[in-house]
Subunit: 138 residues, 3 copies
């Protein structure tokens, strides 16, 4: 069994954004030289997500509006977590979008459907944060 | 290390439905001949889910009503994604229910609690779509 | 390839609670003697979650309020699942918070960011329930 781990760094200049990281994850897979196995990709921070969906900017705006409706940022005083911080909503939004994805690796490729793309979902940006890619297989 | 991959096809005649796929996933496990490892089961489409919950029709009706409240289909014009399409809500519902499940394989069986069953959640059906089963182990 | 499985038992005295299980999961990893691989930790019950977030009591109160807003317990008659049971809301809340987490194991440790902690999320407690830890690797 082979194993591979790499941390990817992101610094999003806004509070919230969706970043397509598919090609970076594919780069990790190529580097690992693993042909068949499982690939885990997860946010290493608890106010961010890694998820798989469509690379379509209209949809990303829909996610932004929808998440803000489900877990509004303001007023920040509505959350007990917001004593010294103002990011409670980011911890909630991250649960809706998820921490991680697990992806099949088959014959050296991400075993994806036609429209599957991997996104880093940032909900409390403006600082350096990490995503982990771990691959096991052979 | 052994590895196994199989794509299962579904064509749901309605826009939305929940389909119990537990026996098909168990069939994949038997076919793989893997005794101990991890099994990934994921939707290969971004308007569908694979999730684990109860095989109870009342609950499935509750999910339908609840998801329609959290992310309503109509009016379709409320979503920027709905230019040529009308399925933005399906991309949102799928995030609540999840893309994938990872299941332990122990002594040749899905290592499940009493009531755990695997479902394909369709949110934009009436066409052929795929679910992937990937298993690694020994 | 090595593999390891252990079931952890919990009995939460209230209907809902969040329990930090990080040290128990780390105990499983030490016991497995696996240095590099993947660790799956999942609820074996369909009215409970395993998730990763912050070990901060204010946030946990925010989750409680937020989940009760997204999927209220009462009136129990609003859910078709609640014929003989009263826990339909628990099946909904568990979907928001998730069934499972998959964690990278690197050099004998959970490969975590600074603030990542593992929680058992109970939404229908007052009885014994199980969490599974499965690890594969070498």
């Amino acid at each position: 069994m082979k194993h591979f781990a790499k941390e990817l760094w992101f610094e999003v200049p806004t509070r919230r954004a969706f970043v397509n990281i598919t090609s970076q994850v594919e780069g990790c897979l190529a580097e690992s030289n693993i042909q068949n196995g499982l690939l885990l990709c997860n946010a290493m921070h608890i106010t961010a997500s890694v998820f798989i969906n469509d690379n379509e900017s209209g949809l990303h705006q829909d996610y932004e509006v929808w998440l803000e409706k489900l877990a509004p940022h303001a007023p920040v005083s509505q959350y007990k977590h917001n004593g010294y911080e103002d990011n409670a909503d980011a911890h909630l939004k991250r649960q809706v979008m998820g921490r991680e994805v697990v992806i099949a690796v088959t014959d050296g490729n991400l075993h994806f459907g036609t429209w599957e793309q991997i996104f880093y979902g940032e909900f409390d940006g403006r600082r350096k944060k990490r995503v982990l890619v771990k691959i096991i297989g052979e």
